[in-house]
Symmetry: D2
Subunit: 434 residues, 4 copies
């Protein structure tokens, strides 16, 4: 987790304070359930709630852990200091440390997913707004980086919207993957604790009981979660790459917003670098790098080994914090992106109508000219544009053989941009709803 | 794709014959839709279906491609050879090669997903059967490779079932991800073809129209698809790893089936190697390796670049073929796995009751002995087992201080395996339904 | 291995014929060494060489394997068919299948490395030629895709040369990593075979004896090998990316060679797509994807498990074949790359001298103008260029306040491109030698 | 970077204090070189050294950066505060921020490599010691987790030594990869600064001048560096996996050291978990995960984009800190590993001599018994061992048909462990030198 690439809301999820608070809630709810079952006295369960509004003393817990060498025991000792040793004696009864740790990790991931969903929503809102603003801002579509046919800037935003909307659904599914809890004991048999405790605690924490756990919650869930974050990161890279291309000096159809005072270069006004989207490209790599270790974490030995733990201590916070930051950085970039529709048109016209040559070719064929002749006619006029810098439409209008097949109006119609935008509404309806 | 790790059903999906057949269907359905729209003559559309039952001549198409240097044109030329040049002249009108190629790739992936789902079902059926057979075959649960508390072999199978069942749901979601088609032209604007064509073709092929495409179907879909296969592969590794552990000489709770004639070693009967599950471990790595390039494929430049294409030519077939093979190999391993319940018990008893020491400790505490004293009592008897090879229960029954707190019956009860299996039914109901 | 992305020389290394030939050589040399040691009769060793020029019958070996279920035994049986059962009876004595298989795999990798080195050499030669051709073809250097300061096309080629030259050294090191052989028996103790056999066979095959092996040659070697190929692939992506940028419509400083007949688009002469470099970008992903499984192959269980085998059956051929093809495709692209020095200059002048503004700023400061005033002077003239399309030099020459600090000659000197190319020779000497 | 998995020496390399100190040294040495060249006054260069022993005020620099939004400028401003504005005015002249940042990153990586090399040395020393201690501690070699032939514990340590020794050489090569510096200006042309400055600064910092740089040092170097760390991590996983296997309850040939007070479980003395090596397995995954992003960082756009930066801010510290910690944790585990030679022998004898069956088979054949008969004889005695728990040697000695071919002495000789250890000295000489 790199401070400059983090937002406090997400960082807070991974603080010791948050962790201990969740541990506490698990223990307190478990005591209630144990009291319901008659396993522990009701008053002991009730006593645990005395700590409800107490802020746990992280330094004190660390101090105890330095002695006990066990984090959960250290916490329980501190809890006993607060609610009383006698009152605390049934806390954690029948439970295993992993019951607390694994369930807590999932609570943290669920909260992280909720924050990430807000980030996705912000990106979606920005994309939707910009898509509608530039619904009919015509720009050249490019395949292989080479001019192809006209499209619109709005369609570009709309396709990113559709992609990010899929990511939203994926993230919701990923959230459901890890929204489970387990309180099932040392090897998952509930030998020392009734399944009702797990059910109660999970209900209180907004989790589903893990249908079958071992000492741990199965890690295929987490693999799927991090794989999904990797896909979202790749979509961020996708959008960032488009913007980086648009901002490059020779294209300049868009620029990341530059505040008044901000300088890309001390003296060169054109030196406004797309540093935010370049940064997003790097952040995408960082998010993606958690996918492989998360997959490698699935095959734990027997009822658990602890190899996953160090991995998750790193990728749990790092990946969610980085992705969260990236989503908001991306949203900001899109919200404030400065767009240059005139440059879009100017770029499109770089080849003076040549991008329309296929339409002309098709028209000639449909007008009865043979495919070979059509091609020859288009080609000879295209070459004058390409080699001598002529205007394609004017050349066609001056070519008798062409005029023999197509009227002036028909030729002009081939240069009508509306031809290319006639289905924009249809597509927008598909993407944003009617 | 390695022949020895492939099944013909899946290989067939990726054959040139299958590919051309799908191309043909797309073109033929597109012609129907164009005729419906009045764009092309009905008889031309009808003529295309003359090739319905014709087997395309792959060698001939390759021959044409060697000249035209364009695969789709080569195919269309061959099609014209079959249905007649004149009849074929409206085929592909308004379409772009990518319309055919991308939609075909998704049809192949959908079919691959369907076959994979059958493989998952076979694994699930095997796991379910074995889980019920060994529902109460008690074995020691192990954390960190070290004996912990008793569990049952059935629970082991049941947790793999639950994991694989999640994978089934994930695979169904992944199938939906790539079950889209696009016939939207050079940059996705439908400039030269009506969206109705896309709708018709997709409906006929069992696909959903891609809401918004560029020249290509967006690759976040494929990234999600391959990421999901990577998760499934990791679950296969998980199961394979458990079996490899169980078969190792010192554990020997299970063995891959060895046919009568098969030899692990010419003279050593114990040399039956878990080569299938080791192989599955390697195959899991192979499946997983497609995840990163699939993620890297998402950020194509502008309306498309072709960098994804070579990647998909490799990982499309290789990953689905390998995973398919792995699922069936795994199913076979599970179906035929030879299990040794007596060895499970013998292993559990390696430490002569010591795995029950925590229950005794708890019982002493609950009987009013202080935590420190309880620990001391358990520890001193445990040490005799550990260091002198005594039996834990017998030692306890001969310890006056223990007997002062617990009756003989109470002590014996602590060694009752039923204590550990009492919730197996509950868990099975959660996993397999009541 | 995808046929269209493969070259026959590299494919041949991975053929069954090659594999059996290497097996044969290992067995024959081993017999010689065994005879030298007096372990087997000299005449039996000599007899093995009768098969020296025989082509092994792969179909026959497969046939035998179908019965024996063991590839090495099938080969040995076939060998006995050729040289005689009696003569063959000491072949393979004291050896383990892995001795043959692992040593063979390394021979194949060594040969693959040698072919890859030729590919790297071809790329280097092409880069060197083009670097010298365009040593002083000035083009704008770009950071963040935005114009920065002038550089030369030759420097671009030179830096790719330097990078690829490092890759050559890395590849040589990687070749040394896997240039070892092992004939050390079932667990590497030489219990049944003298180390002298290993030494003799390795010497004959151009390998170093593996200092200590188990049943297999340690896989950290192969991990390093494939990791190195991954780095080389990334350099290919680096060069490919530069070319793709140069070819994009708005930049057009270079183009992949288009043969006379080749068409990017039927009617648009500008539609020449950088499909080769896009393809190289994808191939780079394919090569890189072997790195992770190769790393995962290192931790085999005890003296070996067979999980690495399926991985290597795939990545051995696939990765070397793909990288080999990519190197030659890249070399071809560079050799034939069409460069447009006039467009380079035109692009550089897009902002009419603005890229020189930092030099002017520095000159003003050095002439005694305060930093703030210098900045103000440059900025006000830069803005006229930026907003009104004026020429930067002309504006400066017309600004009295600037002229008060700098003479006309001094101002003109700031626009001298030679200023930026004055160290090109120095750099070339560093890269190519004096 | 996770505090619990980090060592202060390595963490210190990545502190702001260290970073600013290196920045300072680069600037100060550059001033010296500039003075040597006559570009700036000698006294200004000398004045910079006034800050030689000053500790930079990180908080103050952060404060300035909050205003200037530029880290290098903030630092230079702070430096001016220390040495005087006038004295400082030539600092950084002709340089680009990246000159400082990239050279600094490489200095940090070089220092990190040096610390890592110490870690590797400690691991090597530990392995060497344990190898010699247990040179002839016989244990069973296992392929596929199944008993194969005897080997020795010393050979296991020796092979890890050889592997780690290769890693040392790789790490030294990786160190050389990134031991370069660049002071070459905005696009690497030295337009504004003489190459002599780069040479001087690099010499002072123990670096080689980068032969050709752009705005940045080429990232193939860093890719190779991190790929190498990934290989080393995989070797750590390899060793850790062996130890985890050795410690599992059923094998118990070795245990991680447990300090007197340490508890694996409150009451079960056998519950000593190999948590350190499990942790190392996870840490290996964390180190490896930097390989792919480092490879993706190579293809920067043109003369640089900044996408690599965020990646390196994370993986620079995280990967080196984690690997450093892992090396020392591993060294500690090996140094203190508790080994159980008696258990090794007991495990080997689990099948009462059956692991020698192949030697007996070979002896029978060599004694003139046909292959088929030899196999039958061995098999029938082996089966009595396998199925009835008999002792293999005794059975053979009681089998008249066997005795007809082999004398009692000959049979006994087949059970001599010295047969398997006779080349241990040879192998040790290869690994450790004569």
């Amino acid at each position: 987790m790199i401070p400059r690439y983090s937002r406090p809301e997400m960082v807070a999820i991974w603080s010791p304070e948050t962790k201990f608070r969740i541990w506490y809630e698990i223990e307190a709810h478990a005591c209630d359930a144990q009291a319901d079952l008659g396993v522990i006295p009701r008053e002991n369960a009730a006593a645990v709630w005395k700590a409800k509004d107490v802020e746990f003393d992280v330094a004190r817990i660390d101090e105890i852990e330095a002695v006990t060498k066990h984090d959960v025991i250290a916490f329980l000792t501190h809890l006993a200091e607060i609610i009383g040793n006698d009152e605390a004696r049934f806390v954690h009864q029948g439970m295993t440390s992993s019951d607390v740790l694994d369930t807590t990790f999932n609570v943290q991931l669920v909260r992280a997913a909720d924050i990430l969903l807000l980030g996705v929503d912000r990106v979606l809102a920005a994309l939707k707004t910009r898509a509608h603003e530039h619904k009919f801002s015509v720009r050249i579509g490019r395949s292989h980086g080479i001019h192809a046919e006209p499209t619109t800037m709005g369609l570009t935003f709309a396709r990113f919207y559709a992609e990010m909307d899929r990511n939203k659904a994926r993230l919701q599914a990923a959230r459901a993957e890890i929204a489970t809890g387990a309180i099932s004991g040392a090897v998952g048999t509930f030998a020392n604790i009734d399944p009702a405790v797990e059910e109660h605690v999970c209900a209180k924490l907004g989790l589903t009981p893990e249908p079958i756990s071992t000492q741990v919650i199965p890690r295929d869930r987490h693999a799927m979660f991090f794989a999904t974050l990797g896909v979202i990161a790749s979509s961020i890279e996708n959008i960032a790459t488009e913007i980086r291309h648009m901002q490059r000096t020779e294209v300049l159809e868009a620029e990341e917003f530059f505040s008044k005072g901000q300088k890309g270069s001390s003296a060169m006004p054109h030196k406004r670098n797309p540093v935010l989207t370049e940064n997003l490209t790097g952040l995408a790599r960082l998010v993606r790098m958690s996918v492989i270790p998360a997959l490698e974490n699935v095959a734990l030995w027997h009822e658990r080994d602890i190899s996953h733990s160090s991995v998750e201590r790193a990728i749990g916070p790092d990946t969610t914090v980085t992705l969260d930051f990236a989503l908001h950085r991306l949203a900001g970039v899109i919200e404030n992106l400065v767009l240059y529709p005139e440059t879009m048109l100017a770029n499109m016209n770089k080849f003076r109508g040549l991008v329309m040559s296929q339409r002309v070719l098709l028209a000639l064929t449909q007008a009865g000219v043979s495919r070979e002749d059509s091609y020859r006619l288009v080609q000879r006029n295209a070459m004058k544009v390409w080699e001598e810098g002529k205007d394609f439409r004017e050349e066609l209008l001056g070519d008798a053989e062409v005029l023999a097949a197509l009227s002036e109006a028909e030729i002009n119609e081939k240069f009508d941009l509306a031809y290319h935008t006639k289905h924009v509404d249809t597509i927008f309806n598909r993407v944003f709803g009617a």
